[in-house]
Every structure is written in C-alpha cells, then in structure tokens.
C-alpha cells in the first residue's frame, strides 16, 4: 500500500450548510405571521363577516377597550384566583395523600384503591353534580379545579417516593438520620422530579377545569366574559378570551419549567449552568 493512500485525509461528506442563526430563529414564525396577515386581510375586506371571526387588530382594540373600562383585569384576576386556590387545595390533598401512601404500607392499603376509583371519574363529569351541590358560586369552580389537580399530584408523588433508590435510603439509615431528616434529605429530593412532573400535568388540568367551569356556570371571570359576549355575538370578545386563556396556560407552563430547572439543577436531564 502506498503512503499516499494512508495519508489521504478521510473526507467526510460535506454536511448541508447550517442555516444562519437569524434564519433559524425567524423561520418558525413565518407561517403564523402569514396566517395572521391573511386573517387580517380577509376580515378587513369583508370576506369573513365580523360575527364569524373579527380581524386580529379588532380583537386587540377590544382588549384595550375592555382594560380601559375596567372589566377585563378584574375578571382575569378572579379567574387566576380560582385557578390558584383550586390548585393549592387539590395540590395539598394530592401531595398529602401521596406522601402517606408512598411511605406507609398501611396507608396504601387503606387509601390507594379508593383514590384510584375516584380517579377513574373523568373530572369534568362531576360538574353537573357540583353545580347542584354548590351552585354556580366560587365553591363550584374551586372544587372542580381541586378535583382535577388532586390525582396527577397524588399519582406522581406516590410514584416518586416509591422510586427513590433504596440504597440511598439505606445509606441515610447507616448515617443515623432521623426519620424527618431521611424524608427531607433523601426521600423528597429523590421524588422531586416525579412530583414536578405531576405539577406540570396538574397545571394543565387545572386550567382546563377552570375554562369548562367558567364557561358553563359563572357570573364573573373571563369564561363568563366570553359566554356573556356570545349572547351579543361579540366574537371579538370571545376570541380575546381564548387568546388570554392560551397565554396564561403557556405562562403557567413556563413557570413550572423554570421551577424544574432551578430545583433539578443536579439532574443530568435538566443540567444547564450547573458545571462549575
């Protein structure tokens, strides 16, 4: 074999050129922007009647007007408050039950079956019953959100605790940790990835529960705003409410993700700025 053949560099097939940074950032937005422009144009030139779908700019202006006359912000506030209280109540119940069942075999035998049976109910199916019990007041909405949130938090807490490496628990015992310290230093941190996963899932459930509850039975909140607007064919308000729901949903998910990145900095899957 000749030296030349050995020395010849192994030429990799030329990779297709990477698109430039700006292109990579902007290209995904092209289609949404075009759709929005098309929508605007069709609505402006009367191809879509306003009571079917108002122009995006019209929706924006409606939003501004509603903020100015002081109805929108309080309604958003009420909706957020309902979601937050329902989430807090359902989260606390789900987490509490999850910790009990995760730790104690007896609690598991006593409770797990019951919780799983309740979980089999699609949470939206209880809405009519809730309205009979609690009317269309705050209680009904908070109940529905809490009901939807409890189960994902419960399931993931139990799962997380059961998945904690028993070897680490054993290490905690030989190190002489008290039960409380064992829970705090080993079991909860070990269960945290699973619990946070449950939180993210529960946020989505909470939001869905709220939308449904507010749409069907409410006298305030942004869901009510939309239903009220329906009576007067104010599609601009309805679309505005849909956009707000979406925006808050996205925001809640980003908060949950941020939480994951902060709390799970040690975890290889969430590692970012953790190397010293």
């Amino acid at each position: 074999m000749s030296d030349l053949a050995i020395a010849a560099p192994v030429r990799a097939k030329r990779l297709p050129r990477q698109p430039r940074f700006a292109v990579r950032r902007l290209l995904p937005w092209l289609v949404p922007v075009l759709l929005l422009l098309a929508w605007e144009a069709l609505a402006r030139f009367g191809k879509i009647p306003p009571y079917i779908l108002p122009a995006p700019t019209k929706v924006m202006l409606t939003g501004v007007a509603l903020v100015q006359d002081g109805t929108l912000i309080p309604d958003i506030g009420i909706s957020l408050l309902r979601a937050a209280s329902g989430f807090a109540i359902g989260g606390a119940i789900g987490f509490g039950l999850g910790v009990a069942v995760g730790f104690s075999r007896t609690a598991g035998l006593l409770l797990d079956r019951t919780v799983l049976m309740l979980r089999a109910i699609p949470f939206l199916a209880v809405l009519p019953l809730v309205i009979v019990w609690l009317g269309i007041g705050e209680g009904a909405k908070i109940f529905l959100v809490a009901f939807g949130v409890t189960f994902p938090i419960y399931m993931n807490t139990v799962l997380g605790i059961r998945q904690v490496d028993p070897k680490l628990v054993e290490l905690g015992k030989v190190t002489g940790l008290s039960t409380w310290m064992l829970i705090r230093r080993i079991i909860l941190p070990g269960a945290l990835p699973s619990i946070l996963n449950g939180v993210r899932y529960a946020l989505a459930t909470a939001w869905l529960a709220l939308v449904v509850a507010e749409t069907i039975a409410a006298s305030s909140g942004i869901g009510f705003l939309a239903m009220d607007a329906r009576e007067f064919l104010r599609t601009d308000v309805i679309v505005l409410v849909i956009v707000i729901y979406a925006a808050i949903g996205v925001a809640a998910d980003s908060v949950a993700r941020l939480l994951e990145r902060r709390l799970l900095a040690w975890h290889p899957n969430y590692a970012g700025e953790t190397r010293r």
Binding site: G172, V174, G176, R185, A271, R276
Partner: protein, 233 residues
C-alpha cells in the same frame, strides 16, 4: 487501646438458610482487619449486621451503635453538592468546614460545590470515604470499596485508606476478594467459611510493605489455598 467492636456467637439466617452460624470477632481501635471468603459465604451479611442494617438472630454485638460504612457503590446523593454529601450526618453549624477538611484529606478540597455526577468512579469513592471518616467513627466497615475501580486507581485508594486509617484510628473491617490487597492493608486477615471465622492470620509490617517479601508470598499462598484456589491446587 480500646475496643472497636466485639462479636460473640453471632447467628444470622435468611428464613431457613443459616448464613452466619456462630461467629466471634474482636477488633481494636486502630486495628485494620481484612475479611476474605468465597463469594456467598456471608461477608456482606456480617457487615450489614455490624452496621445495624439487618436484625440478628442470635449472639451479641458490642460496638458503636452507628459504625461508618463505605459500600461497593459510592451511594452519593445526586441532588447534593459534595460538601452536603459529606456532612450528611453532621448537625454542627460548621459542617461545611468539617466537610471541606474531610474532602481535602481525600484530595478533593477544591470541589466542595461540585455535583457528584461530575466525578470519576475513584473520586466518587473518595467522597464516600470522606463521608465515612468525617463522623470520626469508632468502627469503619468497608465492603469491597475498591472492587469497581481500575487497578491503578485501586492502588492509590489503598494507600489513601491506609494513611487515613492511621491518622483517625478507627477499627477497620474491610471485605475484599483481592488477596494482595488484604496483605498490603491488613494487620490481620480473617477467612470466613461455613458461617464462621475459619482462619486468622497476623500480618507483619514487613509483609505489608513488600509484595515479594517471603512472609507476604507465604501468606498469599496460604490465603489462596484457604479460598480454594491454591497455586498448586
């Protein structure tokens, strides 16, 4: 010298299978005892009983309620930086200082805030050793702590352990399958068989020092024969 642990007539069974029949053992503080025996003969079972991890079925163990243990795997908590791992059992306010000193002893004094996942196998095992020694244990139990390491790292770990044991003076019980490791580190070698200590050998400093010392060679042959893999068997 004070005693580190005394075991009399220890018995331990898993259901019907008796693993430790009647075992006596005494270790002084500062004494380095190595435990050899065929796989499955009950070495880990003995260590777990001494560590208080498993109940015992008979006899008695007089020793510290909580000896320090280093397992074959490092068992570091992945969610805690190194200093938090080392200070796990400490309650003192200055636990970070103590952990820092312990990490410095194992050559990782500059990695207090690093995460366990950024460590090599040998480094992780050194942290586990620091975590055990920071407790100032009266008894240190080591269950094949070097088994998963490469040969060079293992040799370095052996001298590190030897130096640290000399400094802190706990009684040590080290389980190993490596006869050379046993001869290098031990003051005494025990061979376990059929649920009891079958043989005991004192190991001289001379044998500790040189693999090729006549005493070391003779001891190696005897231990290998005890373990059923004698050179001419």
């Amino acid at each position: 010298m004070t005693e580190a642990v005394t075991v009399r007539g220890l018995r331990r069974a898993y259901g019907d299978r008796v693993v430790i029949r009647s075992l006596d053992l005494h270790i002084e503080r500062g004494e380095f005892v190595v435990l050899l025996g065929e796989s499955g003969c009950g070495k880990t079972t003995l260590l777990r009983a001494l560590a208080g991890l498993d109940p015992i079925d008979g006899g008695r163990i007089d020793g510290p309620p909580r000896p320090a243990v280093v397992f074959q795997e490092h068992r570091l908590l992945p969610w805690d930086p190194l200093w938090r791992n080392v200070s796990l059992g400490l309650s003192e306010k200055d636990s970070r200082q103590l952990a820092g000193a312990a990490l410095a002893e194992v050559g990782l004094g500059d990695r207090l805030d690093d995460w366990p996942r950024n460590l090599s196998g040998g480094q992780a095992q050194r942290v586990a050793l620091a975590r055990a020694l920071v407790q100032q244990p009266q008894l240190l139990l080591l269950d094949e702590p070097f088994a998963a390491l490469d040969a060079l790292t293992r040799i370095k770990m052996q001298s590190l352990v030897k130096a640290l044991v000399r400094k802190h003076q706990p009684g040590v019980l080290l389980v190993t399958h490596d006869v050379d490791e046993a001869i290098t580190l031990g003051d005494r070698a025990l061979v376990m068989r059929e649920g009891a200590i079958a043989r005991t050998y004192a190991i001289s400093a001379a044998a500790n020092g040189h693999r090729s010392h006549p005493e070391a060679i003779e001891l190696r042959d005897r231990l290998l024969a005890d373990l059923g893999v004698g050179a001419d068997a």
